[in-house]
Symmetry: C2
Subunit: 356 residues, 2 copies
C-alpha cells in the first residue's frame, strides 16, 4: 500500500492507494468520529462494492443512499436524496459520509457533507480511474446548474481518500480512457518526465496493468496534492488543474450533461488549448502532434462535438469560474509540462481553434 | 455610528450600526472587490429600500434578484432563483452579493454566496430587528428541509454587516416582537444586567425609541460577536445561542414554515427551557415568572401551538443539530444570564413541559 499526505494544516488527510483496500476496516476507523455512517453510492457501483464497504464498517450503524448513475443526475434533485436519507434516519452532525463511486458520487456526497447541518465528515472511496487520479483529491465538491457545470458547491476536504485499484477491473474501457485524460493533464501542466513516461505506458494503463496503473495514480495524486497544498481555494496556481476544462465544461453543458464523459470533453479541450498555445507561438507543432497522438492512443476525442458553433463556446465559457470581471482566462501551455493561466491570447486565434 | 468588530482572524469583519447607513457608499466600497454586485432582496423589502442601496452602489454594475417573502420560501427552489440570476447575468467569482432584507434573505443570500462557484463575497444589510440583532452576524447560512429547519447550509462569514436602524420604522409590530425574542435571549444566556435593563426598556424597544433600540442592538451584536469569536463553528459554547431554538425549530417545522415567526417560536421555546430548568432545580420560580412576564410584555407567545403533541416534539427534535449519537441536548439555564448545553435532564420533566 502507498500512502500520500495532503498537507493542509488542520485539514490534513491521507491518500491510501493499493489493492483490496475497500474492505480494510483499519483504513476507515481513524476517520469516523461517531457511531453512524452513511454510504453514498450509485446504482452501478453499489451492487458491486457496497457489501465490501459494509463489511469493513461492521462496527458502525450504516445506512446507504443509492443515487442514479450519470453526470445528468449531478443536480439538486439527486443531492436532495442524500439529505432526505440523512434526515429520515436522523443522522446527526457526528455522522460520517462515505462516498463510494466515481466523480459524480464524490462531488455530490462531498457537497452534501459540506452542507448537511453546515458540515459533517466524509471519506472519499473513488472507484473510477478519473476520480482516483483527480476528483477525489483536493476538496472540490459541486453540483451542476443548467447554465454551467460545477457552478454550485464548496471547497470541503475529505478526512481520507481510500483508493482500491482493484475496483478498476470492473470499469468499462470508455471510462478508463476518460480517466487517462486527467492523468495526461498532469504531464502537460507540470510533469514533463511523467508525460514522456506516459507516452510509453498508455497501453499498460489501458490494459489495467497493476504496476503501471499504481505508478500513474500515485504520480497523479502526488502532483494534485502539491498544487492543492500551494493553493487550496484556487486563488492562483490551482487553476492550472483546469487545463482543457473551460472548453470541456462548455462541451459538456452544450451536449447535455452525461452525453460526453467529463474526461472525453477535457481531452478535446486539452488539444484546443494546445492548438491555441501553438498559434500564440508558445508550443511547437511537434509538441501539439505528440499531445494529439497520446490522446488518440488513449481512445480519446481530439475534436469538439460536431455542430457546436463558436458562439456556443463563447456563451458557455463566459460563466467559467476563471473569468475575472468579464475577461476570459484560459490555461495554456508554454511547453509540455509548463502551463499558465492567461488572458493574453488573440480572440482571432481562439476562434480559429474553436471553428475546427 | 457605532462600529463593532467580529474578530475571526483572516475572516474579520465590521458591524456598522446607525441611522441612514443604507445609502452610505463609503460603508460598502471597502468590501467590494470586483466591478459587479448582485442585490438579493424580497418583494416586501425591495420596493422600500432597493433604490437607496443602488444609489450607494452607483459606481458598480448592479443586478437584483427579488425573492418571495417568508420562511416558507427558504428552500432550494428560491435559492436557485439567486443562482439563476447570477448565471444569466454571467456573474463571476469576483461578484459581491448584498443581502438586503430579514433573516430569510440573509440566510439564503449567504448560502448562495457560500456555494456560488464555491464561494463569493457577501455583505449583510439586515432590515428587520431579528436579523439586525442575530442572524446577520456570525456566518450561519442555511435553507430549510421539510424534515428540519436550517438543515442545509454553511458557516460562511460576510465581509461586513451594515445595520440601518431607520429600516425598523417600516417593520410591522409582530416582527418587532419577534426580534425582541432574540434580544431577550442574550440577557438569558449570558448578560444578566442586560436582562434587567430589558425589563425596564421593553416599551422603548416596542416603540422604536432610537436610543433604546440602538443600545439593544449594539449589546446584542457585541454579545453574539464575542460568542462567535470564541467558537465560530459551534464546537461548544456557541450552542448556547440556541436557547429556545430546539423547541422553536420543532414548532416552526410542525406548523409549516412561515406559520409562526421564528422569533415567536423561539419565545415559547425559551419559556419551555426555563420551565424545564426550574423542574431540574436550577431556576427559581420567580425567575421563570420574570421570563414569562417579559415575553408577555413583548407580545410574544409563551405556550407552544395548540394540538402539538409530545410525540410531535420528540420526532422533530430528534434531528436537532445538537443531538450527539442519538442523545438530545438542550440549552438550559442555571440562572438568568447563565446558560448551559446539557443532556442531563429527566425525560419525565421534559414531557411535563412539552405537555403544557
Amino acid at each position: 500500500m502507498i500512502e500520500l499526505e495532503v498537507d493542509l494544516g488542520e485539514r490534513n488527510y491521507p491518500i491510501y492507494i493499493g489493492e483490496g483496500l475497500l474492505s480494510d476496516s483499519s483504513l476507515y476507523e481513524p476517520y469516523i468520529a461517531g457511531r453512524k455512517v452513511m454510504i453514498v453510492t450509485n446504482e452501478t457501483v453499489g451492487p458491486l462494492y457496497e457489501q465490501q464497504v459494509r463489511h469493513a464498517l461492521a462496527s458502525y450503524e450504516v445506512d446507504t443512499v443509492v443515487l442514479p448513475d450519470g453526470e445528468q443526475y449531478k443536480n439538486w434533485e439527486t443531492l436532495n436524496l442524500i439529505f432526505d436519507g440523512l434526515l429520515e434516519k436522523a443522522h446527526s452532525r457526528k455522522t460520517t459520509i462515505v462516498a463510494l463511486g466515481g466523480g459524480v458520487v464524490g462531488d455530490m456526497a462531498g457537497f452534501a457533507a459540506a452542507s448537511y447541518q453546515r458540515g459533517i465528515d466524509f471519506i472519499q472511496v473513488p472507484t473510477t480511474l478519473l476520480s482516483q487520479v483527480d476528483s477525489s483529491v483536493g476538496g472540490k465538491t459541486a453540483i451542476n446548474h443548467p447554465l454551467g457545470k460545477n457552478m454550485i458547491g464548496a471547497f470541503y476536504q475529505p478526512k481520507a481518500v481510500i483508493i482500491d485499484t482493484l475496483t478498476l477491473q470492473t470499469l468499462p474501457p470508455q471510462e478508463v480512457s476518460a480517466g487517462i485524460a486527467e492523468i495526461i493533464k498532469y504531464g502537460l501542466i507540470r510533469e514533463s518526465d511523467f508525460f514522456i513516461w506516459l507516452e510509453k505506458n498508455i497501453q499498460g494503463i489501458k490494459g489495467l496493468d497493476s504496476d503501471v496503473l499504481t505508478y500513474a495514480i500515485k504520480t497523479s495524486c502526488a502532483c494534485k496534492a502539491e498544487i492543492v497544498e500551494a493553493d487550496e481555494k484556487e486563488g492562483g496556481l490551482r487553476a492550472i488543474l483546469n487545463l482543457g476544462h473551460t472548453f470541456g465544461h462548455a462541451i459538456e453543458t452544450h451536449k447535455g450533461y452525461g452525453s460526453w464523459l467529463h474526461g472525453e470533453a477535457v481531452a478535446s479541450g486539452m488539444l484546443m488549448a494546445a492548438e491555441l498555445s501553438h498559434l500564440e507561438g508558445w508550443l511547437s507543432v511537434e509538441d501539439v502532434d505528440r499531445i494529439r497522438a497520446i490522446l488518440v492512443d488513449s481512445d480519446l476525442p481530439v475534436l469538439g462535438p460536431e455542430g457546436m458553433l463558436i458562439n456556443d463556446y463563447h456563451r458557455l465559457m463566459s460563466v467559467d469560474k476563471k473569468v475575472m470581471d468579464g475577461t476570459l482566462r484560459l490555461v495554456l501551455m508554454k511547453g509540455i509540462g509548463d502551463a499558465v493561466v492567461t488572458s493574453s491570447f488573440s480572440s482571432e486565434n481562439l476562434n480559429t481553434v474553436l471553428s475546427k
